[in-house]
């Protein structure tokens, strides 16, 4: 594990309420990553030029598993984002920022599922906020492993994506409710998931989901339809969007549990079902098809997914 920048004394000072267990408990952790395209003797390459963190969020040293392209430019800079506690409990406040500079290429993933634990006796919520921004000509793949929300967890997960002209971005969120195999289903708790995507400040897509197992929409067909696993994949910056949709419909086995559409320049693939593995396989297959169309390069599966 590498700490790229020493913490300033101000930032190292833990928030006073970190060890409280009442309704005021707050435990903040944040990381702010910056990627910059550099001209180097061997050819252009994207470097991780900023990695400020506070609390238990880290990145490993970036690596370059992809070959240089025909123009001699290095492949995407791959980064694993680590959250050693492995999950969120009441009062946790995670904030993740990723900024991709002009022409830079970055791929960010996580080494394991993110777990959302049952809220404490005070019902205190956690929050996880992710802010992704990509400058003109930049490329970002945001491919975290799934989030597992245990019964009784309460919190808000929001993802903001701010793109400049010509920026390309593909990402997903896979959310599983309750423990796998239905041993401990999600029968209480309250989750809110939000997405907001803008291009040059103009809103192109926003979405909000409230996951409350006691509400009729949780089982209603217009809503969650009783699904315990959901996934949302977005891709922006495709040159030929209808062709990309056609390819996905041809290659990914059709089922009533997933569908793809394009509106306002944003391709959206959604899954509603009960199998984490199925959702993950659909997202990964879609990514493998979309990457060459979006970035002109074959998908390079992060090794960490296979461990």
């Amino acid at each position: 594990m590498t700490v790229f920048e020493p913490l300033s004394p101000q930032k190292a000072c833990p928030l006073a309420s970190g060890h409280r267990f009442d309704g005021e408990r707050r435990w903040a952790a944040s990381i702010d990553l910056g990627f910059t395209r550099r001209d180097e003797p061997a050819g252009p390459v994207t470097r991780l030029t900023r990695a400020r963190h506070q609390g238990p969020l880290r990145v490993q040293r970036p690596f370059y598993p992809e070959p240089r392209d025909a123009g001699g430019e290095a492949g995407s800079c791959h980064v694993y984002l680590l959250h050693p506690p492995g999950g969120l409990v009441s009062g946790d406040a995670l904030s993740i920022g990723v900024q991709v500079g002009q022409g830079a290429r970055a791929l960010v993933t996580t080494p394991a599922a993110n777990k959302l634990y049952r809220a404490d006796s005070h019902g205190v919520a956690w929050t996880q906020h992710t802010s992704l921004s990509v400058a003109a000509g930049g490329e970002l793949e945001w491919l975290p492993q799934e989030t597992i929300a245990f019964d009784g967890s309460r919190g808000v997960q929001s993802t903001e994506i701010a793109l400049e002209k010509e920026a390309r971005c593909l990402g997903w969120e896979v959310l599983a409710l309750g423990r796998p195999a239905g041993e401990l289903p999600f029968v209480s708790g309250h989750l809110e998931q939000r997405f907001a995507l803008t291009r040059d400040g103009r809103p192109l897509w926003h979405e909000r989901q409230l996951l409350d197992p006691t509400h009729t929409r949780f089982s209603g067909r217009w809503g969650q339809g009783g699904a315990s696993v959901q996934a949302t994949l977005w891709a922006v910056g495709l040159d030929d969007e209808p062709a990309a949709v056609d390819v996905l419909r041809e290659v990914v086995p059709s089922s009533p549990r997933w569908a793809v559409t394009v509106r306002q320049g944003v391709l959206l693939l959604r899954y509603l079902g009960d199998e984490r593995n199925e959702a993950w396989a659909i997202c990964q297959a879609a990514w493998a098809q979309l990457r060459p169309l979006l970035l002109g390069r074959e998908a390079c599966v992060p090794r960490i997914w296979m461990t």
């Binding site: 897509w205 926003h206 979405e207 989901q209 217009w222 549990r257």
Partner: protein
């Protein structure tokens, strides 16, 4: 309340008529706007309902009632209805920036290609109709008030405001038109009997009022449709083999 825009479509009454004549004209204007006879082609769109039939999610009177009640509460009362109220207020205040903001907000909340198209195409059709009737605002008098390409909801709010329809009634009228259109879809495609359709109306009539109450009480940050199943169905509809409707 008399505004410049009100005067531009109802000049005689506003100039010489009584208040009750104005109310009557407003009511008739709303009935004209929500009538299935309004030639904008609303009957061609099902908002994902045809796909819900195909998926066998909706297959009888009871499941249709549940679907419509759900979409009313998790869709309309959090999305179209509160935006209608905001747009009508924006038109009243001559706030072109707010009109453009909420029009773009609504477009960004459309979950699928067909749902986005529906709002855009109905908007374009209504705009053409209003232009033919010389009911559109004068661009030189009100520069920038109407965005170039705007959605159905925004134009609906414009006309309601121009006809001095009270906000609550605008929302009730919009929700009523939605319900009638959905039931027409069901009568054609499910098929649902006409008496059964009226039974559903009887059950949902009070819920339309509740939906309007909710819509008028929500803050901006509480807005946004909560319809993941409808979004999935609507995207599935793009590849549905046999279909009568465009959404």
């Amino acid at each position: 309340m008399t505004t410049i825009m009100t005067m531009c479509t109802e000049p005689q009454v506003m100039a010489t008529g009584t208040a009750s004549q104005g109310d009557d004209l407003a009511l008739l204007g709303l009935m004209q706007l929500v009538s299935p006879a309004l030639p904008i082609g609303a009957f061609a769109w099902s908002q994902g309902l045809e796909s819900a039939f195909e998926l066998d999610w909706v297959n009888d009177e009871a499941s249709l009632h549940a679907w419509l009640a759900g979409v009313l509460d998790d869709g309309l009362s959090r999305c179209e209805l509160p935006v209608l109220a905001r747009q009508q207020a924006a038109f009243m205040a001559h706030d072109g920036e707010a009109v453009a903001y909420w029009d773009a907000w609504l477009a960004a909340s459309r979950e699928t290609r067909e749902l986005a198209e529906e709002d855009r195409r109905l908007g374009a059709a209504l705009k053409r109709l209003l232009a033919n009737l010389e009911l559109l605002p004068d661009a030189s008098a009100l520069p920038g008030l109407l965005p170039e390409q705007l959605g159905y909801v925004t134009l609906f709010a414009w006309l309601a405001q121009a006809r001095a329809v009270p906000t609550r009634q605008t929302l009730l009228g919009f929700a009523w038109a939605w319900l009638e259109n959905q039931l027409a879809v069901a009568c054609k495609a499910l098929p649902l009997g006409h008496t059964a359709a009226q039974r559903i109306i009887e059950r949902l009539r009070p819920e339309l009022v509740v939906a309007v109450d909710h819509a008028l009480s929500r803050d901006d940050h509480e807005l946004g449709p909560l319809l993941p199943g409808l979004a999935l169905a609507s995207a599935q509809h793009e590849t549905q083999y046999s279909r009568l409707f465009r959404s």
